[in-house]
């Protein structure tokens, strides 16, 4: 019995985020009318994966994130980060957070902002300066290091938000609508950064309304509605059409296509060609190629 409990505890420590039976009730107004924002929610984000929390406005995504980050206290249940209760301030030393539409102190420059957040995380001296320079380079903000944040564009603010979230080398990055309101080039840059986080072994918990973008970066997703989790699983499993197979060919003439159709028809067992045609590029790719913004990002 004890061994099983120890095992469960060890597994929990391996998971980046565990949410168990979370309920959050807000009471507002003079009558203190209760509003249930999240109801008995449980989820697990495994270390090293990109987990997408999606759902319509008011579905409880941001509330869940705030409880995970210790910004809100749960009404019931608990949340843990790498095994540590979110109520413990030390649990946040492993987390970097980018809020939706972040604003920073307008009077600080890009570099000063990163130094400020770095110091709050206990960094100092040469290590802090080196880390800030590294983050500016990673987010393509080197040219804006000396500029006041008040003059930054939305995309630049978003990237500065990512830089401050990563300044203390956290193992978990929590991103709330990271591409909201950002132009396609800036959005592409942010998604590339998220993909690079996965390659570097970072765990990412991300929310977004932009489902196609989530589809591109997430390993697993949870779909929330009215404060409860309605569907959760590996993205590939959730969106695959199980009885169909995709075959993309290049430099194929009409005769070969005809032979393939005949072979499929002859094979029996209900096999059939559902559709043929030229695959289309995405509007995003077309935009990036047309505006030559693909590799530049947004300055």
């Amino acid at each position: 019995m004890m061994e099983a409990a120890t095992q469960t505890s060890a597994n929990r420590a391996l998971d980046a985020v565990t949410v168990t039976g979370l309920t959050k009730v807000f009471k507002s107004g003079l009558t203190k009318r209760a509003f249930v924002a999240v109801r008995d929610l449980s989820l697990t984000v495994k270390a090293g994966e990109v987990y997408g929390l999606i759902g319509p406005n008011g579905s409880g995504k941001s509330t869940t994130m705030k409880v995970i980050l210790g910004l809100l206290a749960p009404t019931a249940g608990e949340t843990r980060i790498f095994g540590r209760d979110s109520k413990e301030v030390t649990s946040r030393s492993e987390v970097g957070f980018l809020p939706e539409n972040p604003y920073f102190y307008k009077h600080l420059t890009g570099l000063e902002t990163l130094l400020f957040y770095g110091r709050l995380c206990g960094l100092s001296g040469a290590r802090l300066k080196a880390r800030a320079a590294e983050m500016l380079a990673l987010t393509d903000l080197e040219d804006a290091a000396g500029r006041r944040v008040g003059g930054f564009s939305k995309g630049m603010l978003q990237r500065l938000g990512l830089a401050q979230a990563l300044i203390h080398e956290p193992r978990l990055v929590v991103l709330d609508e990271p591409t909201a309101g950002v132009d396609p080039a800036g959005s592409r840059k942010i998604r590339d950064l998220i993909l690079s986080f996965r390659e570097r072994g970072l765990t990412v918990l991300v929310t977004s309304h932009l489902l196609e973008q989530m589809q591109e970066v997430c390993d697993r997703v949870g779909i929330m509605a009215h404060g409860v989790m309605v569907k959760e699983g590996r993205l590939e499993d959730l969106i695959a059409v199980e009885n169909q197979t995709e075959l993309v060919l290049e430099n194929v003439d009409e005769a070969l296509l005809g032979r393939i159709r005949e072979m499929v028809a002859a094979s029996g067992d209900g096999a059939r060609v559902v559709r043929t045609g030229s695959p289309r590029t995405t509007l995003e790719r077309l935009f990036l190629e047309s505006t030559d913004e693909g590799g530049k990002g947004q300055k």
Binding site: L72, K87, V89, P102, F104, Y105, Q164, H168
Partner: protein
């Protein structure tokens, strides 16, 4: 259960200092120093105004106007700057990025408090140095003029010594520094009070108006106790009501030593110590209540 109750993070002076330094930078870059320059100019101008007054009156008026400027500077900054800080961080979501780092809420509050106090202290120090310089210069000038005038009238050495002592009593001395300390302590109490109010206020305007009203009531606390409580309650009731009132509203008359300082009278050491103790007690009390309110605040 609050988000801080299970905090395992030790208190960090360095994080408080980082918050305080950022607060000072924020307020300085909001052009607060222009305000300081204007008030300093008033101090300098006051040194050369009122030429028709007697030598002693000229020095008294210089001190009176200067202390008015010192009080105006410190109280406006204590109320307005403090009222602005917390709601602005919530509105801009800067608070989310700060508190999602391993920063206990008490450190955030103390950082804001000490930031405002550093700025007020620095401003008062500069104005104090300026006041001492102008007062010393003006005193030397009027003393030389007075003595020259008396010598022309064939005054005796004893008369000259009396006049010199009378003018020197109006010059730079320890009581002047105790006066500046009183202004600083009063501003500290008002800053802590404004910070406490902003922890539950819904807007900056509410904090400014409420703090301003409490300051006015605090200035007339003695009168209110005498006129209302004395007439309404019996002896025991009056004592309880006065005690409660003194806890809820700071007795700002405790810090009014300016009249003594302007008159050139010595402020007793015991009175200065009592004033300092009461000021520190009020600040500590308001900060503890501010923390209790802020730690429960849903962000």
């Amino acid at each position: 259960m609050t988000t801080e109750m299970k905090s395992g993070s030790g208190f960090s002076v360095s994080r408080v200092w980082t918050m305080a330094a950022a607060t000072v930078t924020q307020l300085v870059r909001m052009r607060i120093l222009v305000f300081l320059v204007v008030l300093s100019a008033i101090v300098v101008a006051a040194g050369f105004l009122f030429p028709v007054f007697s030598a002693e009156q000229q020095l008294k008026m210089l001190k009176y106007v200067s202390f008015g400027a010192l009080q105006f500077f410190s109280l406006v900054l204590a109320i307005v700057a403090t009222a602005l800080l917390l709601p602005k961080d919530v509105e801009d979501r800067t608070l989310y990025t700060i508190l999602s780092k391993p920063v206990p809420r008490v450190e955030y509050l103390l950082g804001k408090f000490f930031g405002v106090m550093l700025l007020i202290g620095g401003g008062l120090l500069l104005m104090d140095v300026l006041l001492c310089a102008v007062l010393h210069l003006r005193q030397s000038l009027v003393l030389a003029q007075e003595l020259a005038f008396l010598k022309q009238g064939h005054a005796t050495a004893e008369e000259l010594a009396v006049e010199a002592a009378r003018i020197e009593a109006q010059g730079v001395g320890w009581s002047l520094q105790i006066g500046v300390l009183a202004v600083f302590l009063k501003a500290g109490v008002v800053t802590a009070l404004a910070l406490m109010i902003s922890c539950f206020a819904s807007s900056t305007l509410f904090t400014v108006i409420t703090t301003f009203c409490v300051c006015i009531i605090g200035q007339g606390q003695e009168l209110i106790r005498e006129f209302f409580f004395h007439r309404t309650f019996d002896a025991a009731g009056e004592k309880i009501a006065s005690g409660l009132f003194a806890v809820l509203v700071p007795d700002l008359r405790l810090f009014d030593v300016i009249d003594q300082v302007v008159a050139g009278d010595e402020v007793a050491g015991g009175a200065a110590l009592f004033m300092t103790g009461a000021g520190l007690l009020y600040m500590a009390g308001y900060l503890v209540v501010a923390h209790l309110l802020f730690v429960e605040k849903e962000l």
